[in-house]
């Protein structure tokens, strides 16, 4: 089931990324809007950055024991 889902996801990602070449931004405001698969790259890297950076900040500074305020 999970394998099928994964395969389906990969196919859809490829289709949507290819479609990016056929439907470019009509009036790009920034250079990245001229790259057809920019949003794919941004979504993937952005998500990883959010996960890793937040976890790092959390484990370094922010996360405390649940009774932190009761002590």
């Amino acid at each position: 089931m999970m394998k099928k889902l994964r395969r389906f996801l990969i196919i859809v990602i490829i289709i949507v990324s290819v479609l990016g070449f056929f439907f470019p931004y009509p009036q790009p405001h920034f250079w990245w809007q001229k790259i057809p698969i920019f949003d794919s790259i941004f979504g993937f890297i952005g998500c990883i950055v959010i996960i890793l950076a937040s976890k790092w900040i959390g484990h370094t500074w922010l996360m405390k024991q649940e009774d932190f305020y009761d002590q």
Binding site: R6, L9, V12, I13, V16, S17, L19, G20, F23, P24, Y25, P26, H29, F30, Q33, I37, F38, D39, S40, I41, F42, G43, F44, G46, C47, I48, V49, I50, I51, A53, S54, K55, I57, G58, W61, L62, M63, K64, Q65, E66, F68, Y69
Partner: protein, 590 residues
Amino acid sequence: MINSIPPFVIYIVGALVLPLVKNKKAKQFIALLTPIIAFLNLIQMPRGIYWTIQFQQYELILGRVDKLSVVFATIFIIASFISMLYAIHIKETGQHTAALLYVGSTLGVVFAGDLFSLFVCWELMAASSVFLIWYQRSSASLEAGFRYILVHMTGGCVLLAGIVIHIQATGSLQFETFDITFLGPKFILVGFLINAAVPPFHAWLADAYPEGTITGAVFLTAFTTKSAVYVLARSFPGLEVLVWLGAIMALYGVVYAVLENDIRRLLAYHIISQVGYMVCGIGLGSQLAINGASAHAFCHILYKSVLFMGMGAVIHVTGRRKMTDLQGRGLYKQMPITLTLYMIGAFSISAVPLFNGFISKTMVVAAAGELHRPVIEILLHLASVGTFLHTGLKLPWGVWFGKNEGEEKEIKGAGEPPLNMLLAMGLGAFLCILTGVYPDLLYNMLPHPVDFHPYAAYKVIAMLQLLLLTLAAFWIFIDKLGGESFISVDLDWFYRIPGRKLLAFSQFPLNKIRENIEYYVLKTINRLNQFSNNPSAIGDIISQAMEEKPVTIKQLFEKPAENPHKVPIGVGALTSLIFLCVLILVGLSF
């Protein structure tokens, strides 16, 4: 001739009538009828400025009805109906009364055309909403409620200070667009930012909302922050600092949401994040941006209520609020309808095409593009990734699916919540899809004419690329994203830890010093009195004084057995109450 009445009056009448009715069905009927009457009344209200009251040399305006106030009032009334339907099984009348007062005062804010009536409604909003937290009746909610009301009262004082300074400077009580270069509007802005939960004034939201009652939290999500968005849109459009605060805010909530284990606190951080888009839109100030901010407030209220209702339903049926206590228990088998409705809310907040977040969030991001703000555009884009990651993927995965290494494989007794809760979620979810599929329904209500087409192919494809690749990255990191049994400290640390120490310091050493000074001064006066009566007894007086042991530093820091502030606070409150009654009596007699 105006055939309608101020909407807040309808809610306040509803709130006052409700406790007088004994029959349960009649109570439910009144609670649901109030928003319906308010909605019908709203449709009747013509555009313009009316319901003015002369107050000394000032004119109070209770009805400033224009496109901006009507779009906010419409969604507030719809949200109040949905939230009330969700809460209708609750037997405590006090909760419904507090909720109706809360909604009524919010509508008072929306239609206020002067700063005085705005301030009164602003304060009433804080005072009524805190009961939706306290009715949870746990020590955590009691404490969170006190922190909530203290922050809001501080915000109220800042707002009042701003209003007074502004009136002194200009002589005008009008609630309009302010010039930030003056001192009064600066204070007013801070007062508004506190209610909008803009960092660094945001910690109250994530602290208090998850401690509210299951049904009360749904009300809380809709009104306070969005009424603050309305007043910001009204008074500070195009203010540059709001652009940056909004964009930072959008990401700030996302970072905390990664770390959060409490399911409603995670959603609360996403309120901060989503309000960031609105604040940013107001700061950008173009017609498209203001439309975007208003549209996003409208859509946000709908999908956030669905999300909070979904998580509230999980807590209602399981009694659990932490992801670590829910994941891997196969809850999706027991709550398929709740899961489906929650996912509609989740797709909406994530701006999946055909759901309402897509038609509003893209407006704000497009406005940043039109105004050539690359950093802002990228920050908002990144926040969109984080929103889908948490609300659309991590939270439903952790709550309904997920992995559990313990022995418990299912939660016994869990199932779908009561019918009224499902209906409310269903109505919210339906409206999320309706406005997503027919954006013109909303666009026609917006303050400025709309020339924006969200369903242009390139916009849909760009959004799908963004979301699908977020899903792919989530899939890779899925094992790292389960709940962790920790809490994350936020800026409320400043008033919860050093603040508590300051209070303890004031209670013991400072209070003890005061007591000792009082004691020795009185003693000295007494001895001087003895001496003046009989100067020959000076020897005895001195020897008595020498025998007394002075207070040591150690004694100053000893905690007394009883809280020494119990009595003084009681007396203080009583005095204030008497003073207030006298003031009212004097005021009435003139």
